[in-house]
C-alpha cells in the first residue's frame, strides 16, 4: 500500500534516528535503504543519536521532519524518549512544521507507550515492524497524521473504557472515544491498514486519519484516571 501513499514529487522525509543500540540503528538504516531501492527515496537519514542529550542537540541542529525515537534511552532526567520530546519542544523544520516524533520500541508495557505518546509522540510502532510498514508510518507522521500499531489501538480501547462499552455522547469529550473512533480503533487492533479501515467503514482514508489523530489528541490531553495513572508512573503529569 505504500506505493499509493507516497506520491513521487514530495521531497524525501528528513529523519533522525535515536536509539542507544548502534546495531539497531545500523539495521534500521540498512533495511529502510534497501526497501527504498529503485523507487524515489521516501526518507533520508540526516542524523543519529545514542542518548537523550545528544539527541536533543542533533535534532535542534538538523531540524528533521521525523525523529524515530526509542522509548528507553540513557541520559536526561531518566525518562528516555519523553525527555527528548520535551527537550525539543517548539523546534520547527525549515518549512515551519513542528518536528514530529514516532516512537519505536521493543517494550509493550502500557506505561512506556502511554508515557511517550502523552509526551507528544505522533505514533508508536514496535521494533518488529516490517521495513515497508515503517516507511509508510514515517511518511504518515511527516504529514502530521498519527500512527497506531494494533497493540496501541488495544491499549487505547482499554484505557478509554471503550472495550467495556463506554462511549462518548459528543465527539469532543476528551475522556471517552466516540462510537466512530471506537470502530476505527477496533479495526486497527484487528490488524487493518488505514485503507482497509476506510473500505470497511465506507469512509475515506483521510477521514480515518482524522479519527486516528483525534484519538491521539484525546490520548495526549485526556485526564482519564487510567491514562494519568500510567503517565504518573513516569512522572509525566
Amino acid at each position: 500500500m505504500s506505493s499509493t501513499q507516497t506520491p513521487a514529487p514530495t521531497a524525501p522525509v528528513r529523519v533522525v534516528l535515536v536509539d542507544d543500540h548502534r546495531m539497531f540503528r545500523t539495521g534500521v538504516r540498512a533495511e529502510l535503504t534497501e526497501a527504498m531501492a529503485g523507487a524515489s527515496p521516501v526518507c533520508e537519514f540526516v542524523g543519529e543519536a545514542p542518548d537523550v542529550d545528544t539527541a536533543i542537540a542533533v535534532i535542534r541542529a538538523e531540524t528533521p521532519d521525523v525523529v524515530l525515537l526509542d522509548v528507553h534511552l540513557p541520559g536526561g532526567s531518566g525518562n528516555g524518549g519523553g525527555d527528548v520530546i520535551r527537550g525539543c519542544a517548539g523546534v520547527e523544520t525549515a518549512s515551519g512544521a513542528p518536528v514530529r516524533f514516532l516512537a519505536l520500541s521493543v517494550s509493550d508495557a502500557a506505561e512506556d507507550v502511554i508515557a511517550v505518546i502523552r509526551a507528544g509522540a505522533r505514533g508508536y510502532v514496535t521494533k518488529t515492524i516490517g521495513a515497508r510498514d515503517l516507511l509508510t508510518a514515517v511518511r504518515r507522521v511527516a504529514d502530521g497524521d498519527a500512527v497506531f500499531s494494533p497493540r496501541l489501538a488495544g491499549f487505547v480501547l482499554d484505557a478509554f473504557g471503550a472495550a467495556a462499552g463506554e462511549i462518548a455522547e459528543v465527539d469532543e469529550e476528551l475522556d471517552r472515544l466516540s462510537a466512530r473512533e471506537r470502530e476505527v480503533m477496533r479495526l486497527i487492533a484487528r490488524g487493518y491498514q488505514y485503507k482497509e479501515v476506510a473500505k470497511e467503514l465506507f469512509i475515506s482514508v483521510k477521514t480515518v486519519e482524522t479519527h486516528v489523530s483525534s484519538v491521539l489528541r484525546k490520548l495526549q490531553l485526556s485526564s482519564r484516571h487510567e491514562l494519568t495513572a500510567w503517565a504518573m508512573g513516569r512522572r509525566l503529569v
Partner: protein, 421 residues
Amino acid sequence: MPTPYEPAATRVRTDAGPLPGAPPSRPPLVRDRSAGWTPGVCDAVARHLGVSRRLVRVAAVVLAFSGGAGVAAYLFLWALTPEADGPAGAGGPVQARVWSERRRWAVLLVAGVVLVVAGGALLVPGVGMTARGSVLLPLFVIGVGAVVAWSNLDAAQRSRWLTGGPDGMGWVRVLLGSGLALVGVLVLVTRGSSVSVLWDAVLAALAVLVGALILAAPWALRLWADFRREQDAAVRATERADIAAHLHDSVLQTLALIQRQSADPAAVTRLARAQERELRSWLYDGPQGSQASLAALVTEVAHEVEDLHGVPVDLVVTGDRPFEQHGVALSRAMREALLNAVRHGAPPVTAYVEIGPAGVEAFVRDRGAGFDLDAVPEDRLGVRRSVLERMERHGGSARVRRREDGTEVELRLPPIEGDDT
C-alpha cells in the same frame, strides 16, 4: 548442571575447606559446634594450625594452670572466633545435632542447679565450710552461670536472631544464666555478713553485671554487624541466583538451541520469537497472578500456535473475564482458526479479542489467498466442526469472511447470563 551463572549458591558453603584446584591454604579459624560439648575452640585452633587436637588441648590445660593464661586465651578465642556451620563436607544430620545440643543444655542446667544448691548450702553455718571453699565455690557458680548465658548468645549467632530473637527457651537460658551469676556474686560478697549489707551487695552485683555488659558491648556489636552482613549477602545472593537461574533456563538454553539449528531459519525464528515472548512477559508482567482468565487463556493459545508453526501471531486482547466453558470453547475455536491461518494463509497473522459487557468477540486474520467455505469438502471437519459448530453449540456464532487479501474468521459469544460486569 553447574554453569558460570550460578556461583553464589554453591560457593557460600565451601569456606570451611580449600576449593579443589586452589593452592592449599590454611583453613580459616572457625569453630564447629556440630560435635562435642565444648564450644570447639581447641578444635578450631588445631584445624587452623594443622596440628593435633590433643596437643592443643594439653597445651590449653597446661596454660590454664600456669596463672590462668590458658583460661583467658580460651575465653578470648571463644568470644572472637566465628562459628561455622560445619567442617568441610559436613552436611551432618541436623536432627542429631539438635539432640546433642539439647542434651548438652540439660546437663549444663542440672549442673548449674546443683551448684546453686551447693553454693546455698555453703552459706548455712555449720556445714563445715572452709575459707578457701567459700570463695572458690561461689566463683564456680558464677562461672557456670556465665557459661549458660553466654553459650546461648553464642548459639544464637546464627538463625535464632534471624527469626526474630531467641525462642522462649533461649530467653530462659539467658535469664537463668544471669540469675546464676547474680546468685554467685551475692554469695561471694555476702559470705559471713549480716543481711543488712545484702542491698549493698545486690547493688554491687548489679554494678558488676552492668560493667560486664559494657565490656561485652563491642562483642555484641560485632555479632549484630555479622548478622546484618550475612542477611544482606543472603538476599543479594538469592536475587542473583534467581536471575541467573532464569536466564540460564531460558535465554542461554535458547541461544544454545539456536546455534545448533542455525541452518534452519524457520526454527531460529521460532525459537527467538518464543524466547522474546517469554523474556518480555518475565520483564514487564511482574509476578504472575491468577491465570484463570479468558485473556490469559487466549494468549496461551496464540503462543502455542506460534510455537507449533513458527509463524508470528500478533495478538491484541482488551478487557478480561474469568473463563468458563463458553470461553474455553471460544479459545479452542480460535486455536483452530489460528492454525488454519498459519497453515494456509500468509503472514502477518493478526488476532484481536475483545472481552466486554456485550460479550466476547475474536477476530483472526491472515493475508493468504483465502478460501471459499462452500468449496471445502464435506469431510474436511476443521473449520466447519471445530469452529462453526462449536461456537453455535455454546450460543455464539462464527463467520468466515473472505477478503481481497486474506481471510478473516470472526467468533462471537454472548455475554454470560446473570453477569453484570
